[in-house]
Symmetry: D2
Subunit: 136 residues, 4 copies
């Protein structure tokens, strides 16, 4: 079965803007927190990936905003990996507050080495990722 993780986040004052709501550029940061937790919960944190010379660069990001979040609210980032290949992975996210969906997002990542160049994932990480998307 595919892994879905839930990352609770308390909204920071610094994350709000003059409209009194969370600034839209904050959501990609929260999605990154969701991604970190997903990898950690599956068993290899992203810092362990980096230590093995495997980076996930961000190639694409999409976010749809349904409703705003505000200071001090408690939101949840729900994270799944939708596609896991040896050169590319796709994550998807929902951000909720009290069960209400505020935001949906998607990020596309390319596998790269520490120099930023494209590479393929080592075999054990491919297995790892397959487990995360419920294919192994």
């Amino acid at each position: 079965m595919a892994l879905e993780t839930v990352t609770p986040i308390r909204v920071r004052y610094a994350e709000t803007d003059a409209m009194g709501i969370v600034h839209h550029a904050v959501y990609p940061v929260w999605m990154e927190l969701g991604r970190s937790d997903w990898l950690r919960e599956l068993g290899q944190s992203y810092s362990e990936w980096e230590a093995q010379g495997v980076m996930l660069t961000v190639a694409e990001i999409k976010v749809k905003f349904r409703a705003p979040a505000r200071y001090d609210e408690l939101v949840e980032v729900h994270t799944r990996m939708r596609e896991g290949g040896r050169r590319k992975v796709v994550f998807e996210y929902e951000i909720l507050r009290d069960g209400v969906r505020l935001v949906e997002g998607e990020t596309v990542h390319l596998v790269a080495g520490p120099d930023g160049r494209s590479r393929t994932m080592p075999e054990h990480l491919i297995e790892f990722v397959k487990r995360g998307i419920g294919e192994a």
Copy 2:
């Protein structure tokens, strides 16, 4: 003719991350700077829109990353409005360094009042926007 503005940005150290490149969540902030300049150059800055009770909330954002930017580099945000309606506007962006395209982006905005509720643009702003997209 449609207005295209060019916003020069010097990359800040605080905008980089541990990969040594600009963090991906910074690009929506730069796109917002491009949008601000586009409105200012057309003749009504976004703070003047706000003063008239007309907000452009962010409903959707898409960014494609081609190549990274680094500390102290000088990049340019090229901004156009692609669609300008009375309830919705769409901006598109290209971010370049020395003529090389680093990033392409798009943002969809809904027209709202100070309370965040949907409203239609007043007539003079509709004319204004039409001028910006080259339809008036």
Copy 3:
């Protein structure tokens, strides 16, 4: 006895910079999280203060950096209020990782109304603050 709270924070990738460490401008944000938790734990969150028309504007900030934090590390913000008057309060902070002190900080706040103008704290908040600093 004076209240001291401990706020755990997992370092975000977006908080690092090209030196591979947490950017120094992030620490005031973490100190603000510590402050929020201190008020919440004492019994009135800062959003409740705001709802009563009482703001704590930041008048001064000092931070000393001993050692850096890095991506994915778990740090702790220890927060105390050192001085609690009806017009001014002072918080102090220590940020630790595994018992090692990374950063010390201090913030001075002035009491203000929603318009940003100086005011005095209402009586029940003065009592509240006195309890927090161990004087009531």
Copy 4:
């Protein structure tokens, strides 16, 4: 004579918070922009320092807030180096809007190598810095 540089900054929407003003953690970022411009104007940008293996780590930061800045305003960071040694330098800053002083700040930096360890400045950078503080 000591060098003083002036860095103009247009306030970004993302830099504001729910109080409608610039969040206090933004000012250290602006001070860093001032520092970058001071070094560039003196003749060696900070990225050139880095390329020579000389970093200026931030050891201490102090900021006093007199008055707030708001979205779209044009502020100026005035930067001077107050003390320039072979192991430590001190910068001071004033941030103004239309001649009104909003913020005063100070940062203390230690000279370090790419590994983050303390080192002394090479001779030509010591001369460079002396010129900047008006001692050569």
